[in-house]
Amino acid sequence: MKPLEDYLIIDFSQFLSGPSASLKLADLGARVIKIEKPGTGDICRHLYTSNVIMNGESSVFHAINRNKESFAADIKSEVDKAQIWALVKQADVVMHNFRPGVIERLGFDYEHVKQVNPSVIYGEISGYGNEGPWKDKPGQDLLLQSLSGLTWLTGNAGSPVPMGLSIIDMLAGNHLAQGILACLFRRTIGGEGALVQVSMLESAIDFQFEAITTYYYDGKLPERSEHNNAHAYLGAPYGIYKTANGYIALAMGSIPQLGALLSCDDLLGYADGAEAFNKRDEIKAILAAHLLKGTNEQWLGILQAADIWCAEVLAWDQLMQQEGFKVLDMLQEVNMSDGFKYQTTRSPIRIDGEVLKSAKGSPKLDEDNEHIISQLINRQHGK
């Protein structure tokens, strides 16, 4: 039995942040019903998100929305609205990621939902919170990275470099899932509902809590190293280095010790521990030039034998051939209702030694309408 079995989630959210949260909850066992606009559905099905189309829709949509059902309803039509209310009344969780003010206009805000379903856990994700000068800005990942200071941490010193994934969407989704789960737990004791709110900006700040706390302490902006940068606040050797046949990552090791192990005499003189940070550009340059002279296997052989924290750097094709990857059982094949199959990843959480998989692929727009109406809505209406 999965932990959230028998929980019903009504999800109004689109794109990535909200839907990634409901995917987490679905994989933990909840039943997730996406409420989608008739005709077009979740914008992510089509818009600008990937040029890889699988079975008529973007690869990204299929990744985010597997293991869910689709209920198409026009939230502005009275008939459809009554159907949505019937679902919302039965829901354990209702969630959305509209911009501030939108859900109030649609009538499904927490105050209204609570009146018909007092024990509901109501989750919402905004871009920048519900007040202040940024509240109406688009809650879009790259903009959040740019406004939150995150782009000065990755890559070498110089211009800003974004992290090449929708990292803030993903974090906000994870934080919403945490808040919803915490309140669902509380509800098992006293039965009370709750409002859970996260914003992409708060999630972006939380992600940088170490660096921001340091900034509050010393008032100094992050300084990336000139080359081989991996962390603006760490000294040499922390970084990735090119070798004769690939790349290796080096996470720690005193500089003279590395010099001795790697037969790099130029490093032996950096005996003062503080130099690893203060002279990191110079040390990294020496290390980078030296590591070019040997292969991944040579260097890793020496360093791993000495318990130095290091690893090879892999691209996905190399990764997926590794026994260390295969043993994780991280991939799964899922099936859509029309027979289309695709490969994707599974939930990263294991419970009682079991991985959480589900063979259900993403839903076609409105494919569950009939079933949901007969099973959940007519029952509610006493038909």
């Binding site: 985010i64 920048y128 800003p160 994870n174 509380r186 900006l201 340091t214 990263p348 294991r350």
Partner: protein, 382 residues
Amino acid sequence: MKPLEGLLVLEFAQFMAAPTAGLRLADLGARVIKIERPIKGESGRQIAIRNIFIDGDSLVFHTINRNKESYAADLKNPEDLERIKKLIQKADIITHNFRPGVMEKIGLDYASVQAINPRIIYGVVTGYGSSGPWASRPGQDLLVQSLSGLTYLSDTADAGPVPFGLATADMICGAHFVQGLLAALIKRAKTNTGALVEVSLIESVLDLQFEVLTTYLNDGGKLPQRSSVKGNGHAYLSAPYGIYKTKDNYLALAMGDLHHIGNAIGCDLEERYTQKNQWFEQRDEIMALLAEKLKDKTTGEWLSKLEADGIWCSEVFTYEQTLQHEGYRVLGMQQEVKLPDGGSLTTTRCPIRINNNKLYSDVAAPKPGAQTEMINHQFNLL
């Protein structure tokens, strides 16, 4: 009332991933007690960034371990172990991130702990899972990023592998850990039985890549192609997605209708790039054309023009600008924790709001064993 009030969490964990999970549980209302070796405490106390220490413990340790208590115990000492076992009888959750085999040797593996407290939620964080050739490798953030393929997504194509410049695998794994532990608590409420919850840094950082990995698994195995244009924001998105230099600073431009964006910038893209697939396939040349135009005006000039046209764009701030901006201040994200010597530290709060309440706590990270005596008395452990 905070949602996890009344829960007792024993954290045997060190460093970052699991302790960040402990911090989140604490901020959500749980009582989190770090079980640490006497005097020295957990190893994370000595891991510093920029070599900053506060009263003997690194600033990073303070950041991750505020709002917790500390109980000192030598797990190899039978008397201490007995006390810990008594404490476990009262606990709801225990967490650890020891390498495979360590808790077995101490006698606090899941089976042994279950025998003491059948309702326990037992959480384990590893680097690479508990079996296979990587299981005994060091579970360290940069190494996990490097093995996972994550380093081929940021910066330009000629930059080589570029890691995310924060402990991303640790942070995301801690977030997943919290979810697993809370889900197990929800199940316990129904079944009255505990559970084993396991996460690993590598599975979490693979999950972080789930969108792009799913694309890779279904596009015939094409590896990500980063742009050659500096500032590129995403290997899989079309032009103009990225950060561009302006006359005085930088400008971030997100996705949107390229023709509309081109017109607003004064770059005629409609004739040459009629098809949407060209926006992807000819991304680099389109980005170069836009970059050429964007450097002629200031960020402020571009923003007033582009925002008026409904185009998704923004300034690119450093902490100095972000943390002083009204858009940040209105969040109330900043908080002070009180140090035992009367001083204080400024840090950030939990990013989740419950019933319109922001979750603050001014409790600073504990010294090793700071609450040992109090806990001994309260739980009658002696």
